[in-house]
Symmetry: C2
Subunit: 461 residues, 2 copies
Amino acid sequence: MLRVAVAIVPEVRQLLREDPSQLAALLEEIHDEDLADLIELLDDEEAAQLLKSMTAADAAPIFERLDEDTQEAMVEQLGVDNVASIAAEMSADERTDLIEALPEAVGDTLLESLEKVSPEAAAEVSELAKWPEDSAGGLMTTDYISVPLDLTVADVIELIRKGGSDAETIYYVYVVTKTNRLLGVVSLRDLLLNPGAALLADVMTENVFSVSPETDQEEVARTMAKYDFNALPVLGADRKLLGVITVDDVMDVLTQESSEDMQRLAGVEPIEDGYFQTSFWMFIRKRGPWLAALFVSEFFTGTALRHYDAVIQSVAKLSYYVPLLISTGGNTGSQSASLIIRGLAVGDMKTSDWRRVLVREFGQGLVLGLMLATIGMLRVWMWGDGTGFVFTIGVTLVAIPLLGCTVGSMLPLFLKRIGVDPATSSTPFIATLIDVLGIIVYFNLAQLFLAKVIAAHVHPG
Amino acid sequence: MLRVAVAIVPEVRQLLREDPSQLAALLEEIHDEDLADLIELLDDEEAAQLLKSMTAADAAPIFERLDEDTQEAMVEQLGVDNVASIAAEMSADERTDLIEALPEAVGDTLLESLEKVSPEAAAEVSELAKWPEDSAGGLMTTDYISVPLDLTVADVIELIRKGGSDAETIYYVYVVTKTNRLLGVVSLRDLLLNPGAALLADVMTENVFSVSPETDQEEVARTMAKYDFNALPVLGADRKLLGVITVDDVMDVLTQESSEDMQRLAGVEPIEDGYFQTSFWMFIRKRGPWLAALFVSEFFTGTALRHYDAVIQSVAKLSYYVPLLISTGGNTGSQSASLIIRGLAVGDMKTSDWRRVLVREFGQGLVLGLMLATIGMLRVWMWGDGTGFVFTIGVTLVAIPLLGCTVGSMLPLFLKRIGVDPATSSTPFIATLIDVLGIIVYFNLAQLFLAKVIAAHVHPG
């Protein structure tokens, strides 16, 4: 997706060196997102020079799209006062994110400097910074249009024309009391499709969907996606309008939350930046602890096997089936876990549905187990290990998918219930648990079905 | 997310039986999405009765939100002619999806019936049905607003007021030639913030982002999310405007594509409906074949172990480490695979980056391996299995994460390169491959480091 930015880097570099006054003409037709990519590709000094050549109003939408690391570097290069002028032109939510992402001392200095440039912009930051970054309060902006109730459609359109340029969305207008209580919402579409003389009260929708500032950002995103909302108001106590969440912020949340779930599922702590933007040691920090934890817990498979030492000593063949059996437990467990974790994420199910899930997963485990047992018994018979083995493997192959499906589905629901991200049950962790259980089931069945064979080996003759 | 619908079911059922004329008042303030949920919760007969009680224009936005199965059931209940009237009021893209989702014979009959109700609506379907469902052409709608170039801002606003009610978005207006070539785009925001007398030509943006109808839907979604677009035009040959993709359709794509990737990663064929909407046997069909394939490929671990029969017979302990070692390969492999698959999905990397990825993953595998080897050697030493074991396990634990990281990262890139969905390399499949390789490495190292111990057992005394 960096094609545009990569393509213009050489030309921009040349102009920066030779004729910076030509830059504006080159960059005018390029989207802010591509300009942000461009800045990431340049050296810090070049990037700072480029941003300096722009007005604060032009630089703001680019600056708010930069990576947090680059923002920090630019604050260093440009100085806090220059960045404060840019920040004053940024949208309120992005301005807050910028200050929160900076090291605390730098952020504080920037906020002080911002207070001189625009006390209003600084106040908005203090207001928005109250809420956690991953909540509705952290996503919302205070740059919305609100109007009193006693207006006509034509009045409102006139108000938008005059004051709309700073608002993040002009497509929804919020109707509020003097104390900012939300009375209703009207879309620009409804405004335009109604006669100018119509009363706002007759045109607006009173039954407004809203969220509280504490609502989790993923729930906000799912709600907006489900109902096809372009904007969603955030209400505090007594239906006070605190801010508005726009669809563009929510699309990033959908992508980010899915990435995090996918990484957690695979036993990687969520990584914020892109693959090539993440440092080598960051990867080690995100992967290492999970790997080590899984490795140590997998020691129990060794302990379990040692427990059956006498059996294995007498019939070594028994151990040849272990990888096959435990990988089957892992596979069924991963399948169930990913289905449930995704179901929870997209709002398909709640933790209180656990009984229904358990019944379904038990049934699936049974059918899948019978299927695998049939294939497995055939294979054992072909390997010529004897009837005792055929039965041991057959019954184990029914038991293990049952374990996989039930543990794999119940663990995420349990974690969610106790307030832990269900994806943290990362499928390798479930696999480890099922590995140990599977070994215990297998050797107990073996001792049952292969009693004669084992005895023959232990007491030869 | 079904709360609203669940809450009103009893009241709706009662009114359907006793006083259907009261229904309109109850349902008026409820969002179409919740009404669609409501219909899914009712019996087919009740649902049909409810839809019949509405005008076609009211029923259309609800009908287009129903599951494909329910749509099919409603066609059966209401009859093709009634549904044709509703379909004529649906947006062009949803209308096409409806007809494509029905069994072919039913879809054809509906299209014939639609031709009588609205020849124009039927023509739009024939136009849109040309494109694959998961392409930009399959996502786009033909319900957009287009205007000629020689207008003023006030003219365009007047046009929107008169003709905007059918358009899927009125927030972007497309400026086209008489042959429908795209000249530029102007947002409603720009129209309102400019004086009415301004010329369209001076206000519009000429450098318009667009996609071709063949563009993959995931790329469309990523582009819109990256650039915060609310709508994106689809252009055919000679920049002919074929349709427009709106942000609400794209949010569903983001969710759907992530779900599919997550399921494929866990070895489940993508499941379209929600967990509880999917039938038992559908789950078996989506899980069974993958499980069976993985199970059969895991037979090779048995074959590999049998190959080292003599070694295991002499030192049974060797087999106790197998689950620990192969699960470590699986874990590192899953980590790498999920990072790469996600990186490809969000456009972080291309297949041509494989060399850079290989270098990074090799490095990570080495560091992670050294870390695990340190822990592992300590544990083996504590188990008291002797120096030969300590070395065998140590070196194997460096080799296996190296294998895991390189195979886990290269296989998705290779699959993508040959045109297969990289998530199809589902991590269990990678794990199976690494399991077998890991066993081979382990026993060869054992034969090297434990030669004396093995020899002592094979030839006792």
